[in-house]
């Protein structure tokens, strides 16, 4: 069966510090991968998605970047965090057309 792992679960970082959130999927190959952000009281905002190694599509220009160094690994990064980067970050994957997305357990990021 397929599983998705996302870590860390919670993170408190000072303004200006770097960020690296990691997401890995097991039990499948060539998944479509997504990073969403959920701000307090808001819906899910798509940040990045990837259909293959090294292929990253950015939905919202901002202080974040994403990379896919391996088929089942998706990393969300920032060189310098802003207060506005605080939120709940969700990684998700799906096989392809018509399939629902499966989500990781999320990372609660607080920038102080």
């Amino acid at each position: 069966s397929q599983t998705i792992h996302q870590w860390p679960a919670t993170l408190v970082q000072p303004v200006g510090s770097p960020l690296s959130l990691e997401c890995t999927v097991e039990g499948t190959s060539n998944p479509n991968l997504y990073w969403y952000r959920q701000a307090a009281g808001r819906g899910l905002q798509l940040l990045f998605y990837s259909v293959g190694i090294g292929q990253i599509s950015s939905e919202v220009p901002q202080n974040l970047s994403a990379s896919r160094p391996q088929d089942r690994q998706f990393i969300l990064s920032s060189k310098k965090l802003l207060l506005s980067d605080s939120g709940f970050y969700l990684c998700a994957w799906r096989r392809g057309q018509g399939d629902e997305a499966f989500f990781g357990q999320g990372t609660r990021l607080t920038v102080v």
């Binding site: 479509n32 997504y34 969403y36 808001r42 819906g43 899910l44 798509l46 998605y49 259909v51 939905e59 709940f88 969700l90 998700a92 392809g96 057309q97 018509g98 629902e100 997305a101 499966f102 989500f103 357990q105 999320g106 609660r108």
Partner: protein, 115 residues
């Protein structure tokens, strides 16, 4: 671009009663999928139900059913015999059938089931 609108930020329902959550969407696509996801306090996103646009029959999963009105671009979720464990955020989502495009989510409805 597709948009998904959930017009009810918060709702409440008595235990064992029935509640309907609304969702409308805007698209020029003819073939697509619609989903309802549940996010309980644990914040884990869980798929509740899905509907293929080419199917006229409304999807049903136990106590959860949808009312899919394609012409009206409406996709409401009905929860019957509400249980305390149904307390959660509920998100409606849209996905094009073609390509590998991501799911587009609404802003969610916070449902509280009251004992």
């Amino acid at each position: 671009a597709q948009t998904v609108t959930q017009s009810q930020p918060e709702m409440s329902v008595q235990e064992a009663e029935t509640v309907t959550l609304s969702c409308t969407y805007d698209t020029s696509e003819n073939n697509y999928y619609l989903f309802w996801y549940k996010q309980p306090p644990s914040r884990q996103m869980i798929l509740v139900i899905r509907q293929e646009a080419y199917k006229q029959q409304n999807a049903t999963e136990n106590r959860f059913s949808v009312n899919f009105q394609k012409a009206a671009k409406s996709f409401s979720l009905k929860i019957s015999d509400s249980q305390l464990g149904d307390t959660a955020m509920y998100f409606c989502a849209f996905m094009k059938l073609s390509g590998n495009t991501p799911l587009v989510f609404g802003k969610g409805t916070r449902l509280s089931v009251i004992a």
